[in-house]
């Protein structure tokens, strides 16, 4: 996911134009926009509504229904912690508590340096080797508290490298 990428009305419209011919184009469009710029800006809602001949309220209704879509910019990396049963059996409740404490944020929040957003997730299909987390598109298994700290540190690092 490329986060925080510059966008313009035109760049969003290009995404919509490329997909609106598909039957049931709404979700593909929302995914494509979020993939491109990290979230669905308010402006895009109006453009989608107009292109798909729906009301803005309808588009908002769809966005708010799905946990995956967001309407505010995320941090550079999104960390999702699996909260579901198989990971619970391997201690994800303490992992959650540790993550919130060490990042200093709760779920659905972003760290002050805008490096990390924290989200809950209900199963990553990695249930035989939990607890599991996802950082951007990478899934990690057997995440002990120490391993979590290591992963966070390695993602902090690439911020320094990139500057």
């Amino acid at each position: 996911m490329t986060v925080g990428k510059e966008w313009t009305e035109q760049s969003i419209q290009r995404i919509i134009d490329g997909l609106e011919h598909k039957p049931g184009a709404m979700l593909p469009i929302l995914h494509a926009i979020q993939n491109e710029i990290g979230y669905i800006p308010e402006k895009a809602v109006a453009q989608i509504a107009e292109s798909l001949l729906q009301t803005r309220a309808e588009v908002h209704g769809v966005i708010s229904f799905y946990h995956h879509f967001r309407t505010t910019p995320p941090g550079k990396h999104t960390i999702e912690i699996c909260r579901a049963e198989a990971c619970q059996a391997m201690g994800c409740r303490s992992l959650e508590a540790h993550a919130k404490q060490s990042l200093g944020i709760d779920y659905h929040q972003t760290t002050a340096n805008r490096q990390f957003s924290l989200e809950p997730v209900y199963c990553l299909g990695n249930c035989a080797t939990g607890p599991s987390i996802r950082i951007d598109d990478d899934i990690h298994g057997r995440v002990s508290l120490d391993r979590f700290d290591e992963l966070v540190a390695s993602h902090q690092q690439d911020m320094k490298e990139v500057g």
Binding site: M26, L27, E85, A89, G125, C127, D138, I139, H140
Partner: protein
């Protein structure tokens, strides 16, 4: 020929460092100037051994697991490529491993052996034989073969697949659809994921056969967004299938058409329910539709639609290749064929176990699972996902069979088996069931939407000892109301795990009572 070294590319192997191992292996190959090639295969399903590195030897494939990147150099030193089995992480000949040897793999026959996106590999191991047979058959005969197999939907409800296809075949329409439910939302399940990541052509073949059987020309795979690896591999496999003429307007020169596209969900458990899934595919909020009409008659965009789980479609190529009867020869009672079970949670040897119906839960957890990972006594097991009951020790001898499970108030669902050791707080688990329903309810009906919120509150009161007895009775009533008054199984089954805790672990829900 250059010697092959296999390093899996499924989510679990990747989540434990398979890419780093591949890099390290490549480095060793270059530094030592060896004639060896890395193949990224699928997973064997022995997930506790991931990353499981295999090498071709004269005796067969020898495995090393669970390998870490730091160990790679030492493995080469220890003569890994000569099939030297002395290293501590060597598991010997992979196919002789008891975990695999004791299974009856029909659906997962190829998993881990092949490169998932190699059509050549797929064809070399019976791939597309079923499709070739189906092309030469009348639609009714394809449907009859599936009926003969006795296959029942593997997504949870266990409805006979052949009968569903018959309804779609018998409903006239210009446009019909094949929809694959790849939302796999249940915790503790990953068999769908393994199919899509380790043998995606099997799913493509199964859906194409389904299209031929009911005269549908368009298929959609509704895939959960939580599966980025499956998404990438599926898309790659579909593209290759198009290029090789297994999909598109003229399948293998038959003049028959079938198009296939992956659509991503967006993190909503309820979209695994088939009617909610259809609304979502249509671009709406994923609200559950009242049935009837059945999706088989009024489905996607109002047209007749086959909706089946990944594993249901994945069973079809075997059935059309070897015959429905040969599938039906496995199993017990009305549960025919094999079921891919998934061992998860606190388990020593977690992974995929495909077996004919009939094994007991205990054998599964002990003989295959090897007990808990922590080594502490097993206390409870949740089978069938978040809506399934927690089963205490007294129920572990239940055979894996749809009807036998129903008889003890449990569900087999999608075959997920989540094990908990004695440290689990069952009161906390009951609370989570209600909390999950609160987060994931589609909101259409009151018993589910409001009931789950009240459920969390009431359980909190019981747990803190506030009017515990009165609140216990209230919780009993609430569960009944949700079961009786909900439109779908989300609200209708959420009480099952809660009631199982009330019945089998009452002291843990309410120490204060």
């Amino acid at each position: 020929m250059s010697q092959r070294i296999y390093i899996p590319c499924d989510t679990t192997a990747l989540s434990l460092g398979a890419d780093q191992i591949a890099e390290a292996v490549q480095q060793e190959i270059e530094q030592r100037d060896l004639d060896a090639t890395i193949v990224r295969n699928g997973s064997r399903g022995m997930l506790w051994l991931e990353p499981l590195v295999e090498v071709d030897t004269a005796q067969g494939r020898v495995g090393y697991g669970a390998v870490s990147a730091q160990q790679v150099s030492a493995l080469f030193d220890a003569g890994m490529l000569d099939g030297n089995q002395q290293h501590e992480s060597c598991i010997g000949l992979v196919e002789e491993h008891p975990f695999l040897k004791k299974q009856q793999r029909l659906t997962f026959a190829r998993s881990g052996i092949t490169d998932p996106i190699s059509i050549e590999d797929y064809i070399a191991l019976d791939g597309f034989n079923g499709l070739k047979n189906a092309i030469a058959m009348q639609p009714q005969n394809i449907v009859d073969e599936v009926k003969t197999s006795g296959l029942r939907g593997r997504g949870g409800a266990a409805f006979p697949t052949g009968i569903k296809w018959q309804t779609v075949l018998d409903t006239p329409s210009e446009q019909k659809y094949i929809v694959c439910n790849a939302d796999e939302g249940d915790s503790g399940t990953f068999a769908d994921r393994l199919v899509m990541e380790c043998d995606p052509f099997m799913l493509i073949e199964g859906m194409t056969i389904s299209g031929l059987a009911v005269h549908a020309t368009q298929g959609y795979i509704y895939l959960r967004s939580e599966y980025p690896v499956a998404h990438k591999l599926l898309n790659e496999a579909i593209e290759r299938a198009y290029k090789a003429g297994y999909l598109g307007e003229d399948i293998l020169g038959s003049g028959k058409r079938f198009d296939l596209e992956v659509r991503l969900g967006a993190g909503a458990y309820i979209c695994g329910e088939e009617t909610s899934l259809l609304d979502s595919l249509e671009g709406k909020r994923g609200l559950v539709r009242a049935k009837p009409p059945l999706p088989a008659i009024v489905g996607l965009f109002g047209q007749p639609t086959v909706v089946n789980n990944v594993l249901s479609f994945a069973a079809v190529p075997y059935i059309l290749d070897k015959g429905g009867q040969s599938y039906a020869d496995y199993g017990m009672g009305r549960s025919r064929g094999t079921l891919p079970l998934q061992l998860a949670g606190n388990v020593k040897q977690g992974g995929l176990v495909e077996l004919a119906f009939g094994i007991s839960l205990r054998e599964l957890m002990e003989d295959f699972g090897g007990g808990t990972l922590t080594g502490k006594p097993l206390k409870a097991v949740q089978v069938g996902g978040p809506l399934g009951a927690y089963l205490p020790a007294s129920q572990w001898d239940t055979p894996v069979d749809y009807e036998e499970f129903a008889a003890v108030g449990a569900v087999l669902g999608h075959g997920g088996v989540v094990m908990f050791d004695e440290t689990v707080d069952m009161g906390e688990q009951a609370r989570f069931s209600m909390e999950f329903c609160k987060v994931e309810s589609c909101g259409k009906c009151t018993p589910c939407r409001i009931g789950s919120t009240r459920g969390v509150e009431v359980i909190d009161r019981i747990r803190s000892g506030e009017n515990a007895n009165a609140n216990w009775v209230l919780l009993e009533d609430l569960c009944e109301t949700m079961i009786d008054g909900s439109l779908c199984a989300m609200g209708g089954m959420t009480p099952f795990p809660v009631q199982s805790v009330m019945k089998y672990f009452p002291e843990e829900l309410s120490a204060a009572r």
